[in-house]
């Protein structure tokens, strides 16, 4: 049986492979705090969003979470659930951000929004499912600060890669 693939499918596969590679390389680095990591794979998501639109970015992001977890052996573990909820949240907020009238956000804005949404989403899931203790919320500002830092850095990198100054499409 031959599955018909379009040029877009192949492009998404290439970009997702790139994102997965970065994701796995990054998992080799130790993390100072659970939940904190640079999230450099999101650079790819933002570049794809700027260049090819929201639909491709959503595919690349979700494929990265799925395949990354399969390769790292975390599929269907709490780690995977947190990663997935974060990715779904950030893709959701990017969908909204794409609909901003006018010139809209640039790569830094998109990246920052995605990072904050990712952190908020996975933190909420962690609190609801795994550690339902009110004291956990003390970590929240710290984690958001990390998200602000890494989100901005990722955005600047993404901006350097994608030089096109254009409104993102859906």
């Amino acid at each position: 049986m031959q599955i018909q693939t379009t040029a877009e499918d192949q492009r998404i596969a290439w970009l997702a492979a790139l994102a997965i590679t970065i994701h796995i390389l990054e998992s080799a680095f130790p993390s100072p705090l659970p939940g904190v990591k640079p999230g450099l794979a999101n650079v790819i998501t933002i570049v794809v969003l700027m260049e090819f639109g929201w639909r491709s970015a959503a595919w690349v992001s979700l494929l990265r979470v799925l395949c990354g977890s399969l390769l790292l052996g975390t599929f269907l573990t709490p780690t995977f659930l947190l990663s997935l909820s974060g990715a779904v949240c950030s893709i959701g907020i990017l969908w909204l951000a794409c609909r901003l009238p006018g010139r809209g956000f640039g790569p830094v804005g998109f990246s920052l929004l995605a990072a904050l949404a990712h952190m908020t989403g996975q933190f909420t899931i962690a609190w609801l499912l795994f550690i339902p203790h009110p004291a956990l919320w003390r970590l929240f500002p710290v984690l958001l600060t990390a998200a602000l830092l890494f989100g901005t850095v990722s955005g600047i990198i993404a901006g350097g890669i994608s030089n096109r100054q254009q409104q993102c499409t859906t």
Binding site: L100, R103, F105, G106, V108, G109, L112, P134, R138, L148
Partner: protein, 136 residues
């Protein structure tokens, strides 16, 4: 950076200190024992209620205020819990080992005594327990 980027960055930078202020101010959030559903006032650290758990029944919380003795029925018979001067203990129990009685007085929030044969446990609760558990 576009204008939207700068506005977003400004909003985030302004709201982060507010988040720190909200979550890091003592007393801003309620860290009471969620299992007992107890909220207390200023005298944190000291116990104010006693939770009595008997097998097969819902946990029962009772204030430490009037000194008294409480009969708690279990599979082996009735155990007697004594409350005096803000402390609590097993006074009598029909069990063979009397480990519960020898546990003595419980005086601080978080302390627990249990009678396993009679399947009854008592624990002091307060707004800020000094520890989660103790091993002997």
């Amino acid at each position: 950076m576009t204008r939207a980027d700068r506005v977003l960055m400004a909003i985030v930078l302004c709201s982060l200190p507010l988040l720190y202020l909200h979550f890091w101010t003592p007393g801003a959030a309620d860290y009471s024992d969620s299992a007992g559903g107890v909220t207390q006032g200023a005298d944190a650290g000291t116990a104010t209620v006693l939770r009595i758990q008997s097998a097969g029944t819902a946990a029962n919380t009772t204030p430490l205020a009037p000194d008294r003795q409480i009969q708690v029925p279990g599979p082996m018979g009735e155990s007697t819990i004594e409350i005096r001067a803000g402390q609590a203990r097993f006074l009598e129990s029909p069990c063979p080992g009397k480990v519960c009685v020898h546990s003595g007085w419980l005086s601080e929030a978080g302390q627990l005594a249990a009678c396993l044969p009679n399947r009854i446990s008592i624990q002091l609760l307060g707004s800020r327990p000094r520890f989660d558990a103790i091993n002997f």
